[in-house]
């Protein structure tokens, strides 16, 4: 069953158009990875789904965001509020600053169930302790009486995940959930999310720029570049036979068993800024395969059963 279906999403802030033509779909019990370099519009996509654009002065200019058969782009702010934290949970990038420094952990997590599940604070606390337990937090009852500054980053990230899960959402969006954490904790958090998807039949959107995380945990991948979706498909297909040169370059950048003296691969150049996206295919200035047409006509991006790619010359790496 399709939980979230985004079609041809376009976002504008005043005159600039940082996002256009983004399409993807997530099913229940499935993990979609959204990858791309910084500035490629990953977080903006998450914000659009959460309906947070008006807060920062943006608006959706085209396309639809369909959640469980309901078009979110036409939803009122009040109705959206019930979805946020209720049926759609968001895990933000920075656990260090995502908790109110003046409130104990317990009440902060309780508030979600009180708000969305109409529980009394006492009922919510029982639930909170239960959720903290499933997230493998030691002594959940004690943790409830702690303040955020008394906890480590990995613990705080688990609390943030607990808050996102407190109202039993159907869709979870994790926006680079491990960026601020050290490597060992990163692996734990990713595994935790993976388990949650399987146990609770969640639909998970995992936003990351770590291709190896995608390879381990995701079912499907959406590759984004300069505010556009460039390739979409199953993890197997994307990693075995990437069609878009940008995807190929990203996969080529995963470090693997380097011997001494060997250089890490990277993609030359940088992501263009929103103010001057190139004409035609946005990737053509950095593409090794670019022809004249790439600088003029933007390639089509159409989803098919096998996946989709936005390139004039798709195919295996030369």
């Amino acid at each position: 069953m399709t939980m979230l279906n985004v079609r041809d999403l376009g976002v504008a802030f005043g005159g600039v158009q940082p996002l256009s033509g983004v399409s993807f779909a997530v099913e229940r019990g499935e993990t979609l990875g959204i990858v791309g370099e910084s500035g490629s519009g990953k977080s903006l996509t998450a914000m659009s789904v959460m309906g947070l654009l008006p807060l920062s002065g943006g608006r959706i200019t085209s396309g639809s965001v369909e959640f469980d058969g309901q078009d979110l782009t036409k939803l009122s702010e009040k109705a959206y509020r019930n979805l946020r934290g209720g049926r759609i949970g968001l895990i933000t990038q920075n656990p260090m600053t995502s908790l109110d420094p003046l409130q104990k952990i317990g009440p902060q997590v309780d508030a979600v169930a009180v708000l969305h599940l109409a529980m009394t604070p006492a009922q919510a606390r029982v639930r909170t302790i239960d959720i903290l337990g499933t997230l493998r937090i030691p002594d959940p009852a004690l943790i409830c009486d702690r303040y955020p500054h008394q906890m480590s980053g990995g613990m705080k990230q688990r609390i943030v995940i607990a808050m996102a899960l407190a109202a039993d959402p159907d869709l979870l969006i994790a926006d680079e959930p491990t960026t601020a954490l050290d490597v060992t904790v990163q692996a734990q958090i990713i595994r935790l999310l993976d388990d949650l998807v399987k146990e609770r039949e969640l639909a998970l959107i995992l936003i990351t720029h770590d291709m190896s995380v995608v390879a381990q945990t995701c079912d499907k991948v959406l590759v984004m570049y300069a505010g556009r979706a460039v390739e979409h498909g199953s993890v197997g297909a994307i990693f075995d036979a990437p069609q878009h040169p940008y995807t190929q370059a990203l996969i080529g950048c995963i470090p693997r068993g380097l011997s001494a003296g060997e250089q890490l691969t990277c993609i030359s150049g940088t992501v263009p800024s929103v103010m001057n996206y190139p004409k035609g295919c946005p990737f053509h200035p950095r593409c090794t395969r670019a022809h004249d047409i790439c600088a003029v006509t933007p390639p089509e991006f159409a989803i098919s059963a096998a996946g989709a790619v936005a390139c004039h010359f798709p195919g295996d790496a030369p």
Binding site: M50, R81, L83, R84, G85, S98, D100, P101, Q103, L115
Partner: protein, 298 residues
Amino acid sequence: MTMSDNPRRSLAARSFHAFGRMNVSRAFRSVVGKIAGGFIILLVLIAVFAPWIAPFDFAAQNLANNNAPPAWPHLLGTDEFGRDVLSRVIYGARTSLSVSATAIALSVSVGMTLGAAAGYFGGMFERAVMTVVDLTWSFPDILIALIFVAILGPGLTSTMFAIAIAYLAQFTRLTRAQIVRLKRETFIEATINLGAKPSHILLRHLMPNAIAPVIVVGMLAIGDGIVLEATLGFFGLGAQPPTPSWGAMMSSGTAQLFLSPWVIIFPGIVVAVTVIAVNLFGDELIRALDIRDRLREA
């Protein structure tokens, strides 16, 4: 299925609980904090229990014994009407402290509400509020007091409103600056992502995080308020006879400055010491609540 299940009162009560975590008692840890805080508490107790502490009736005249120098039983002497200066200073603490504290409390509550609303909602509302508030800041305190005296007549009510208006801008601006800064914090964004209503965000998350600097500035403003009350009293715009007020006492003392200096000296000393104590305690509060940075940003 929302917060409306809990009565609004309980939301406010729980908001207050969060404020309570800011540990004001830590200001008493240092020697300075103990002395200054102790003095303020002593002064408040004296004001509250004035009828039991004062050796004489503050209004009882004894023209046969006027302008008497400090001696038993009039420890601080008597004034031109033979009234006991010590008793009048003790009763004056009631006037000075209550007028200043009430005025600042009024100013803080109105200022915080306006500032929080302006900072949170922004736009034209913010501009309108801030323009009006800044306008009140451009008038000298005495002039504001004169406006109220002209409307309400001289007295403590006018003094109170004058002090409240004089400090309104400060609290409004401070709160607005805090809210504007906090609004962009990740945890507020996270709260929005969890589906919280604006009232919940404002009362439960923004206000508790914004209040610490306001407490400190409010404390310091009470000191200033005492001076302003004394000033207005000195000019005859504040407390009217026979109500004792430190400022009014000094005012009447000027006539006999060389004949009986104790009438003006003792209230003056008490005003000075009180203001110093309040300021020192305010500094200790800044340290105790650890908000130096937040004040600087505001």
